[in-house]
Symmetry: C2
Subunit: 310 residues, 2 copies
Amino acid sequence: MIWQYFAPLSRSCAGARGLRDDAACLTPPLGHQIVITTDGNIGGVHFPLNAPPWVMAHRSLAVNLSDLAAMGARPWVYSLSLSAPASFFSEQVLAPFCRTLGHLQQDYGITLSGGDTTVYNGPPHIHITALGLVPRGQALHRDGARDGDDLYVSGRIGDAGRGLRLWQAGQREGQDSDLLAYLAPTPRLALGQGLRGLASACMDISDGFLGDLGHLCHASHVTAHVNVEDIPLNPHLPWQDAIGCGDDYELLFTAPPQHRGAIARLGAGLNLPLTRVGYIEGIYEPFLQPVALKHGGLPVTVSAPSFRHF
Amino acid sequence: MIWQYFAPLSRSCAGARGLRDDAACLTPPLGHQIVITTDGNIGGVHFPLNAPPWVMAHRSLAVNLSDLAAMGARPWVYSLSLSAPASFFSEQVLAPFCRTLGHLQQDYGITLSGGDTTVYNGPPHIHITALGLVPRGQALHRDGARDGDDLYVSGRIGDAGRGLRLWQAGQREGQDSDLLAYLAPTPRLALGQGLRGLASACMDISDGFLGDLGHLCHASHVTAHVNVEDIPLNPHLPWQDAIGCGDDYELLFTAPPQHRGAIARLGAGLNLPLTRVGYIEGIYEPFLQPVALKHGGLPVTVSAPSFRHF
């Protein structure tokens, strides 16, 4: 019963053979490396327990795709390990869940290679491992930021954070773009691939702008200088909240100044704002905050939360 | 804290870069295909809730390795997505859990490429995706059994099933080999790789000899003929139970008769019994039981259970 929903999702993966074997057999294209990422999505932790099936499906696959985007990879295949209560394995849930996975597969060119399902009593666990492809040696990493690099962010920061507040306040319907930014994040795959050869470091923002910028700086052994006024922020949140809340899934990246023109053209071609929000300095103290924020010209300190509850 | 336990497990995976990036970047060797498999292991479903950490680690990785063995692949890398209550993320649990993963990595030549951990309130979920390598075109599949092929099984059937009964009866200590067969199954990786070019079909036995033989026959559109007396069974279980219980993780495979000598030499070289237990007939009725069992020369029918409870 269950695999009648999932087998069609593997149709364009020849090596999955309709999910009939113990495993799928994939042929990697010549000259490429494989990027592999895993994210668990658990009801009540990563998405609300009362989220509809399409939200569970979209978020779970999109956050993995976002990791591929951060590495500059193009999506290839993913596997799905799903454990959930018996009520999940019904037409009512599986049909919209798999329909949403199918839409994302089409939009981003990825296909299901296999998976595993288990019935148990507890919240749904949706564990996805996604594989992407990147031309050899061209993957982006978070440890490449260097002294003098520009610091950029894509899209707008805090939209998903405000969307979560709207959800928590009971809003469900309507086309509010902040609510959609939270429920159905857009992985920046075309951007990530376009940044190969331009960006010196890249990562996706899942835990909040400030916290993730700290991760990038620690990995690169550098300090970032940012004027808060330069960050494209959601106008409905206090700036301290907007730079601290998670789930943006925008890309945060650095590049040497000579690539400013190319990066502007890339953003224009993708119709996606790419905003220069600061610069990198090659100074690093492992036990100090590596992000120097200014607001109104004065240094400010904000503690970055990195957890969520429902 | 958590990644201090896991990062050393990725040390021999250059592309994991100490688990610092959003994803790992792997270089597949030329001329190989990638075999990918995913299994979720949930406390209270796949292993007892009171299983010690080393058992959770061993079983979770071994069942994935067994899927690679069934495809004739050699292990390459695996990712781990772990969701568990806060008590799991303590020295007391993580130290033996990771020590056991490390031992298996050494024994079978696989390395951690990355993963994800989540704290939640509920039984531990250990989702592993394992990648293996197989020379192009040489993977084993379960749909290749043909009329006149011999049917083989490795090792002994029912040992793990008896081990589970011992565990359920309260036995914990001692070197009982059946208990160990259940707690720490041995993936038949060298056998799977040795069967490339010999076996026409192959799969691992996770749901019980009878049920999984049915899967192989349905996939291959054939019927299997088996004399129960020819199956190497655990002597402490009724034969009906031994061929029905799961968790054996032996390999079930078919091969044309001209490979009998090569298969005997392979088993001798591995010091692993490979027993010819029947033959394949090219007759198939999709809605009939595709396994014709005889006991004492007379046809017998056994219904195969394929679920477990703790």
